[in-house]
């Protein structure tokens, strides 16, 4: 019986400025079991990073507000925890890998010390300094960095190596959940493959659950067990990897995403993007968020918010699904 590690229910987050409100996340629900990888896919601006920050409680205090929902992690609602308790969760139970490795490390500390920070701050097994050093060296070897380099500074490492250091920091405390926010977007393809392999190996070794945030369907195919496709702050399609890649019915947005991938076979002269742009997140529409761009949009779609159609765990938020 698989254990559920994370259960997000109806999470809604908005950013409030003096002039307007930005509806970043509009009621999303998903869950993650131990050892599973969930791919959170979507364009820029879909609300993926906001969701990740919301789970970790790292949203900007003054502007962001969680207006609804709960995030259940190991029988606790993370949204209700105070800062003291959240500090204990971050880094040791839930870790995050950020997008840009070039700026993710403190320039004035050697990497060994930064990796050691993560252990030192939590130190649940009360390790001595020497033991922490050993652990740092072990973790460096695991991510493929020679341990002699632990005294070097971040500027002495390339982008791919820095991302490995970030992964080392994230995983050294064996968290139960790892959120990887587009970990390979800033890296070239060959390094991308290496980084993904490292993440997958470590995941298998420590049985970590992973939320892989990405806009690259190739990465999803390689690494994920479940997929959630986000659009304008909602999950428009949710299911297992099979459901999304080889299923029969899809949300029109998903169809558009797959269609826009350049074809290796066949002759194509033009790319087929999805027409239009992401909607303005400050204006909540009456009906479906995707309506303006949808090829199969009906009057009902424009007026009524679509319900979630479900079949054996495959969910699609569309009026036309299942018809």
């Amino acid at each position: 019986m698989k254990k559920t590690v994370l259960d997000v229910k109806n999470l809604a987050i908005q950013y409030e400025t003096d002039l307007e409100t930005v509806y970043a996340v509009n009621g999303i629900s998903f869950s993650l079991d131990a050892g599973e990888t969930l791919g959170l896919v979507g364009e820029t601006g879909a609300g993926k990073t906001t969701t990740a920050l919301g789970i970790l409680g790292l949203l900007p205090e003054r502007t962001a507000r969680v207006t609804n929902g709960e995030v259940r992690f190991q029988d606790r609602n993370l949204l209700k925890l105070n800062e003291q308790d959240m500090l204990k969760v971050r880094g040791s139970k839930i870790s995050m890998i950020f997008q840009d490795p070039m700026t993710a490390l403190n320039p004035v500390l050697p990497i060994g010390k930064q990796i050691g920070e993560a252990v030192y701050l939590h130190n649940e097994d009360n390790l001595s300094q020497a033991q922490i050093e050993e652990k740092v060296e072990e973790t460096l070897e695991l991510v493929g960095i020679p341990k002699e380099r632990k005294v070097e500074y971040p500027y002495q490492f390339s982008g791919g190596m820095r991302q490995r250091v970030v992964i080392a920091i994230a995983l050294i405390c064996n968290p139960d959940l790892l959120i990887a926010d587009e970990p390979t977007t800033a890296l070239d393809v060959t390094i991308q493959a290496q980084i993904l392999t490292i993440i997958c190996n470590l995941q298998r070794k420590y049985k970590t659950s992973v939320i892989m945030i990405t806009h690259d369907l190739g990465v999803v195919a390689e690494t994920c067990d479940k997929v959630a496709i986000m659009y304008a702050g909602e999950i428009v399609e949710y299911g297992s990897l099979r459901d999304i890649f080889t299923g029969e019915t899809h949300h029109p947005y998903t169809e558009g995403l797959f269609r826009s991938l350049p074809s290796l076979t066949g002759d194509s002269k033009r790319l087929k993007p999805i027409e239009g742009l992401m909607p303005d997140p400050t204006e909540k529409p009456q009906g479906c968020w995707f309506a303006p761009r949808c090829g199969r949009c009906t009057q009902k779609c424009r007026q009524e918010a679509p319900p979630v159609w479900e079949q054996e765990g495959h969910q699609i938020r569309c009026h036309l699904a299942g018809q």
Binding site: L56, L58, R62, L87, K88, V89, R90, G91, S92, S95, M96, F98, D100, T103, A104, L105, N106, P107, V108, L109, P110, E117, A118, L121, H122, E148, R149, V151, E152, Y153, Q156, V166, I169, A170, C173
Partner: protein, 288 residues
Amino acid sequence: MNNSHSRTREQFAEFWRRFRKNKSAVAGLLILVLLVGMALFADLIVPYARCVEQAGADRLQGPSAAHFFGTDEFGRDLFARVVHGSRYSLFIGVATSLMALAAGAVLGASAGYFGGMVDNVICRIVDVFMCVPPILLSLAVVAALGTSVRNLIVAITISCIPGNVRLIRSVVLTVAEQDYVEVARSYGASNARIIFRYVLPNAMGPIIVNTTMAISDMILSAAGLSFIGMGIQPPSPEWGALLSAAQTYIFTSPYLLVFPGLFIILSSLSFNLVGDGLTDALDPKLKD
């Protein structure tokens, strides 16, 4: 394992190379070294006794082989007084700017990092203090507390803090936006840890430069207060006090004014030049 040390040496060599290119900065550094040497080894250069021994017969004599800078109205050797006076100026200058730095760092970092109400309160208090000219501010403090070396130091430090708070706050505002601060928060670093280990160390460039310039200001402030009699009291040979005493004899014995004044200018100037040189040498944008 020695990689880190050789890299640090490399970095320092690079910094030194950039600093050396600025001729005036190097000149400033040389003068500074001489002045510091003078302050440290004052007793070796000339015993303190000569500052205070009064030889009535030798009053108001010009520079000579026996008295390099001449003698004052009490027959005391001006050279000895100037040399020993350097201790006061340099010590006060460095001590006060370091203390003002510490206070400014705590307040400025809090204002810049936490923002909101904390920032508002600190900024408004700083604004009030900045309305008062620094000299008047320190004067008011000395008048309230009484004249002594300790009170002089307190007064001058207080006048230096508001400027520091503003500067450090602005630097912290930019550094706190960096990604690595968010990453540190994501693995559970507390705010205090982030400020002292992540934000302030990365803000050191402008802070170091500002502190060096501040020393120059503090030296002038100390001399100024002593000049008007609210600082160091006679017979202590502080340079400002020497200037004050020389006023009466300005036409008959101008050397009494020239030598202390020259040294005040030199110390202030040297710190300024070094600070300038540091600005260029530490500027990351000029790195090739």
